[in-house]
Amino acid sequence: MFRALIRAAVMALGLSTSMVSAEEPFIVVQSTTSTQNSGLLEYILPWFEAESGIDVRVVAVGTGQAIRNAINGDADVLLVHAKPAEEQFVADGWGVERKDLMYNDFILVGPKSDPAGIRGGADILAALSAIAAAEVPFASRGDDSGTHKAELGHWSAAGLDPTDASGAWYRETGSGMGATLNVASGMDAYTLTDRATWLSFGNKGNLEVLVEGDPRLFNQYGVILVNPEKHVHVRAASGQRFVEWLTGPDGQEAIASFRLEGQQVFFPNAQ
């Protein structure tokens, strides 16, 4: 009764349908910020939308939040980059199947003056150790995102716990990649970023790439259809079609053709 009343009120206001083009089918994709901020999704989605007639609505948040939103049932498809967390998501029954989609790499950027002296290195663990030893500012995402998880993994592999220095040289921004780059740029701090966000970022200031090419900086993206058995409202058919397109030849080709400053930044590797 209560719900019916609210529904009637909403309909009476004519808001639920008239303000958005809800007539055409759509899916909600919870995605990582890097795929949106770099412009990748904006570049590839028109192809899928033209071919399928399905409107893709992207909510770009950190990987951790994207996964939690999907668990709450507020997504049809998940596009993130934290493989262990994704596999856990599927193992817990929230996702149907995890598929590799594409990869790029993380890079360590920092001030041109490079007070920790790490420029040109290709060993992320050695670089982080040097930063910790020099106690120079490092901006961490601190938001449970895929990049944050990767960063924490490298610290622990180097046998370090930077959170001891939280608030001192280790600065946790609790924000997205772009916001964290803004912070790093503002305080001449080092930070770990994915290459796509870095290349498309417009406020580099005094920052430049200092460490790259370590195989440990590999950054794999995965795509998962949210399990309709857990959430009956999931638009499974449309969502499945999107996953198949992304991992199929057309989607993979579209991803490969995306360029930032003339560089390919996402490398499709769906099986």
């Binding site: 719900r3 609210i6 529904r7 909403v10 206001l13 808001l15 639920s16 303000m19 958005v20 809800a22 909600v28 910020t33 901020n37 904006e42 609505r57 992207v58 909510v59 770009a60 939103n69 709450n72 049932g73 507020d74 924000s175 997205g176 990649m177 772009g178 916001a179 780059l181 803004n182 740029s185 498309s200 970022f201 417009g202 406020n203 580099k204 959430h231 409202h233």
Partner: protein, 237 residues
């Protein structure tokens, strides 16, 4: 800074070339906030006026609470509305999350206390002023509410503008419940947040300038309307 200035003027030029996507975003911002303020007025004005004239135990406390709610952090409101509208929440079946309606709901929660609290203040003063007249006409306290609201209408416009200011400038709540989805729920403030996070600071600032321009335009319009209403009121009197 030289680079920034030229970037900024380039961004402003871009905006005034009449980019249709940008204007769709501006229009959506206005739609959402105007709707939110209208609904807040429908709820907040009667509540505020009733609180001004009615006498009951706990009234003082309610007023304090209402005044405190004016400072409710938008992010908390966004979170609460998200928890209500999420598929796992009690109102999930309505499928309102990530729609403009969800943004309107969040803004109504933010704006209603402002409208109600300011209405109470205005009406309470008027009620004191008119108390003898109303009593001599035998009008009960609650029955006098519509009359008092009508009489206070010019002052109440200010309350609505204060509410509109909070609604149109707000980002924390609408980005959570709207999701900042391109062409669906992207408004001025969430676009500014997005462009800032992309490091496009000049563009973000230029968009901010538009937002301020809108706020000035709306205020000027309302001020002109109420001035005319005031003059007409004087002529009739």
């Amino acid at each position: 800074m030289q680079g920034f200035a030229s970037e900024f003027s380039a961004a402003v030029a871009l905006i005034f070339e009449g980019d249709s996507e940008l204007w769709a975003i501006v229009l959506l911002s206005l739609k959402v906030s105007v709707f939110a303020v209208l609904i807040s007025a429908l709820i907040g004005m009667p509540v505020g006026a009733a609180l001004a004239v009615a006498r009951f135990p706990g009234r003082r406390m309610l007023i304090v609470l209402m005044n405190a709610l004016m400072g409710f952090p938008p992010v908390v409101v966004g979170l609460l509305v998200y928890l209500m509208l999420s598929r796992s929440g009690p109102l999930g079946v309505l499928e309102l999350l990530y729609t403009p309606t969800a943004m309107i709901i969040a803004q109504v929660v933010l704006v209603t206390p402002i409208v109600a609290a300011l209405t109470r203040q205005v009406v309470e003063m008027l009620a004191e002023e008119y108390s003898e007249q109303l009593r001599s006409l035998g009008v009960s306290r609650l029955a006098s509410v519509p009359v008092l609201l009508w009489d206070a209408r010019l002052a109440l416009v200010t309350a609505l503008l204060a509410g509109f200011g909070r609604a149109i400038a707000e980002v924390g709540a609408v980005i959570i419940v709207g999701g900042n989805i391109n062409h669906v729920t992207r408004v001025m403030t969430t676009t500014i947040a997005l462009e800032t996070s992309k490091g496009n600071l000049a563009l973000a600032l230029a968009l901010g300038a538009i937002l301020i321009g809108i706020a000035i335009a709306v205020n000027a319009m309302v001020s002109a309307v109420s001035l005319r209403a005031e003059q007409e009121g004087l002529r009739h009197a």
